[in-house]
Amino acid sequence: MNLKAILSDIETIDPEACERLNHAAGRTSRRNLFRLGTKAAVAAVPLAFGASLKTAYGQTSNAAAILEILNFALTLEYLEDSFYKAALAAPGLIPAGDRAVFQLISTHEERHVSFIETAIRTAGGTTVTRPRLDPTAKGAYPNVLSNYQTFLTVAQALEDTGVRAYKGQAANLISNDDVLQAALQIHSVEARHAAEVRRIRGQKPWATSTNNPATIAAVYEGEGNVTQGGVNVGSLQVSGITLGASAAGDAFDEPLTRAQVLAIATPFIGA
């Protein structure tokens, strides 16, 4: 895989991109691009989406910028997809009572992979090579596929990282309504996964900056931030109600940069 390409920091997108994309979308029946609810429509979505991207950008550098973000997301989805498939295949790892949860999460990750792959290819781009998963993260979690608590810890780390990764790219996709909306639609599904895994672990569903295992502390760096849009939300007061001490930090999930995400994810990429 071309990690170097993904790592390259393209944080700015051509300001004219929006206009070009809007023109293209208008020509290709924009309102049908993301109609959901039926299998037939869903199958068509990434195709239309990719076509929209291709029509707008051709082979310009702007296409490359958005495709790199999509390949960055795809890399994370590949790792999650491989991780849950390995876990579901590991005998005795996931208790019968929790299996339905992880089967569903696995299915979602597989479909995120399929959606993003199709979008990239339809846009004329090339998908990154699927990385080989090292579920132990270079030996940091040697029993991840035999000890349920270790598995849950790593699952929580991957899900919460995924939420922060998509959030960190939203503003970089603002010029393209279709890609942005799809990214947000995946983002909230990852948050649901994270909440459920945390609950199974006996943790609160919210991402906190405290009470996290030391091995996954990097996943929660900066989560305690209470300054939002220039407002100190830790100092907000409401008469008659005492807000919880961690509520201001927990009420907002924080983004991670691509570099931060890749520092967390790279150990899970095997040789």
Partner: protein, 230 residues
Amino acid sequence: MLKVMIDSVACNGKVGRRWFMQVVGVTSAATGLTACDTLLDDENPYVGGVQLGRDDVGVLNYAYALEQLEAAFYTQMLTTPYAGITPEETQLLTDIRDHEIIHREFLRTALAGDAIESLELNFGSLNFGDRAAILAAARQFENTGVAAYNGAGKLLKNPDFLTLAGKIVSVEARHAALIADLLQPRTTYFASDEVVAFNGLEIVQTPAQVLSAVRPYTGTVVNGDLLPTT
């Protein structure tokens, strides 16, 4: 601004004072609010309601309206807790209430003079004493909130506002998953087919769909007709 007032009155003599003030407030931050036929057409009978406004301010007011609704709902839930509520459930629901209050107060503070008024809310149709019924209502509110934010992201023009909306929506999604897990623990209910489509993407709702869905609970009619569509 004076022209807007005159146009508004000229369009419809029944324009309420509250709506009138909202239009004026919004106009101070938005532009071009002079076409009264856009405001008062046949499809918009709610001339007495709250106008969310245009552009990013309108979208943020839309979020502010939803957060007002959620904060009030959970405040009521904890004031009149359902029968058999456990200490853990009380703690988790208190956390959610606090998050929603913080979202509400944050948006009100950020919008400052452009913020809509406090909505009149009415949860009289809900049975707060019944665990299954009220958690089902909570789940609907949360699912609607996530779908609303997912649909609103592309309406924003300022990337900083987009990131802030992203910071809130994933917390709402966590709430939604938790409430579903309280109803049906350790099942697929936390991210069911109702909210996650076959392709693994969560559903999206437009402001019109969302405002219609919450209409039974908003004593004040919330009008999103001026919101952007892209």
